[in-house]
Symmetry: C2
Subunit: 418 residues, 2 copies
């Protein structure tokens, strides 16, 4: 039986209100799963060698629940454009290049390497409409041992000529894609209608049938801006809410339903998302960059919605989810400043919980160190200046606010060091 | 005569509306100052060796117009506290430790090294009330060749017992401090009343006399929050605006007057600041973290106010001014989203201008590459993924959004490589 033991300051968030801190402790990992955390090595494990990380922190690896892998190459540019200019001048022409497999490979290889570098081991990614390139991303994540959902994007209307499919083509290619990844393990196919404004009703309904046939979930954008919320209902006039479009198509019954942004949810949206245990993905930098608004994280969390974090590359500029943890706290402050009746400030612990255990639940038992969780973990520098000490909570906070990939000193997936 | 020539993509902002871009060009630096930028090495310089940076960017070094050097050790912690808790639990106890010179040296050495690492060569810094430690910071900046203003903080009321001076003590120590740095060159003493709520009228008036006697400027916080704006006028009821407190004391006539935050300026504040050519310092991360609000940058710029950027360590968590350039664009978007009648979105070029040429003007001819400007400069990576090219403007933007100190490949002060 494979057993490893690591020593360090072990930190994770079992709930939004609690940061579990085991300083100077030992974590025992059996067959890739957490067996327990102990102040001393228990008698029965005395013979197992200990990897000693001193006062470095051992934390769960991060999950990114909304990222456009195909936009990785355009991260951090065109950020002072309006959304429509950014889409038309950067995003759409760039995504159209994924018909070129050479380009796609370069982009997706760099994307996956950067995820690993920044400690994101579980990822829910949009690709593009191109099936072959989407397959490549799927396989690349699997090769590297990451956990993920990958979606071939669907868009059959209101899109530029060079980046649009017919409804039939879109459904056919999606089915080939789903079929070829049946029975996959760590990485799974997910349906990815771009969003209601670029999908016809026949397309959405067709995807609903594929969801049932291939037992897969859905990943899209929901009430991401006032414009989108209105446009979705203008195009789907017989529906009462944005979420209902996906629910009535049967897209929320066969796997995780993951909705990016959720900034302006109606009561009906909230009811539908809660009913299906859906994930709402907060992407702080992205919704700032695209001037969409700020998700009412504290309120939605109190209302029992599952809240997670996303980088939303390249609406968001940075791939590091730990930075979005800090940014989520920051934006909650601005939200309270401007809309005190809408939502309140959140704590670092809460944001960290959303980025680890809550988001991780979309992939299985990852994102925590409770017994039985997979040991997908990061070892983080002490983050201290040499002449002063800090609490573990402060060190975690400092990592999220000013850390970078250099502060990630080791990476483990299923108990195996990368 | 000392002449150096560098080749690369040379980028600077002569105004808020213009990014000057000289790709594949040569910059000639004579006696530390920019002589000119040329597409080819001019005939008369043919013998001078060229340092070739290829397609790397050469940009002016940054200026940080508002930073609490003494709070460097607490950066990125306590960020989810309310301001009062943050001050009482972190900031005040921590600042009180600067009576210990060992602690002060450790902190200020690390602070100055980090400024250099991140390309900030011109800095306007608060120290603490402790003169000896403030002297140390002053000398350390000078030793390292940086440009700066350093202020011994004044606070004689409404402050914790362990971090307060009597009015007499405060004025006496300040005068000793000013006197000992008379005639200094790159680094200069500045007056630093913490802000009106912690300074009595006799203290402010006394500092006004010292300003005249020692010909020095002032650095403080102004209308930094709704609370501060009201509290200042409650304590100084005979004044019509926050700025008038400093103006009537004669603090704005003898050197640069530099005001942090300026989030809620009255018409009178704006009139007074413009009259004295004062600098308003926008600190995007800090005013988010302390829930103060967002400076109306675009409007104040249009009204002719000098706008600059500050890290405001440790209200702000990061020392890198290039990241505040990106953050200034981001916050301008949120400002327009929430208060469209107050201020509009700004461009990356505008934010970069505030952080370089406009802020640099407080220190002399730094922050631009026009003829006669000191060559205080950074060489920045191409920022490109190897399989695609970007414009110089995009590369600058990417550096501000996702770059870090690793992307700064060389540093020059007065034409001398560090």
């Amino acid at each position: 039986m494979s057993i490893i033991i690591l020593h360090g300051d072990i930190v994770y968030a079992p709930s939004a209100d609690e940061l579990a801190i085991h300083e100077n402790s030992y974590i025992v990992v059996k067959e890739g799963c957490v067996e327990g955390i102990y102040p001393e090595v228990p008698e029965q494990y005395k013979g197992v060698p200990v990897t000693d990380y001193g006062r470095k922190m051992i934390i769960p690896a991060f999950s990114d629940l909304h990222v456009h892998a195909s936009q990785y190459v355009q991260r951090g540019i065109g950020m002072d454009c309006l959304l429509s200019d950014w889409l038309n001048n950067y995003t759409f022409p760039q995504e159209s290049r994924f018909s070129d497999m050479e380009y796609a490979k370069n982009c997706y290889d760099a994307f996956v390497d950067d995820l690993i570098r920044h400690g994101t081991f579980h990822v829910n990614a949009f690709a593009t409409i191109h099936r072959e390139a989407t397959d490549y991303l799927f396989n690349r994540l699997e090769e590297k041992g990451l956990y993920g959902y990958v979606g071939k994007v669907n868009m059959d209307c209101n899109s530029p000529d060079f980046l649009i499919e017919t409804t039939e083509e879109s459904l056919r290619e999606t089915e080939v894609y789903l079929d070829s990844h049946k029975g996959s393990k760590r990485v799974k196919a997910i349906l990815a209608p771009r969003f209601a404004p670029t999908c016809s009703k026949p397309l959405i309904d067709g995807l609903g049938k594929l969801a049932a046939k291939y037992a897969c979930g859905v990943h899209t954008h929901l009430v991401e801006s006032l414009w989108e919320a209105e446009e979705a209902l203008r195009l789907f006039p017989e529906y009462g809410s944005d979420a209902e479009i996906y629910e009535r198509a049967g897209l929320m019954n066969h796997g995780p339903s993951i909705f990016a942004h959720v900034i302006f949810p109606s009561k009906e949206d909230i009811r539908i998302l809660k009913k299906h245990g859906s994930y709402a993905v907060h992407c702080p930098d992205a919704t700032t960059n695209i001037i969409a608004g700020i998700m009412p994280v504290q309120r939605l969390n109190e209302q029992g919605m599952k809240i997670t974090l996303g980088s939303d590359i390249a609406g968001g500029h940075g791939i590091a989810i730990y930075k979005q943890v800090a940014r989520a706290v920051q934006l909650s402050k601005l939200k309270e400043f401007y809309e005190p009746s809408e939502s309140k400030t959140i704590t670092l612990t809460q944001a960290f919980y959303h980025a680890t255990k809550e988001a991780g639940s979309a992939f299985g038992k990852v994102g925590s160190f409770e017994k039985g969780y997979l040991f997908n973990a990061l070892v983080i520098d002490t983050m201290e200046d040499p002449w002063m000490t800090m609490t573990a909570e402060e060190r975690l906070e400092r990592f999220c606010y000013i850390g970078d990939d250099r502060n990630i000193r080791a990476r483990y997936i299923e108990g195996r060091e990368l």
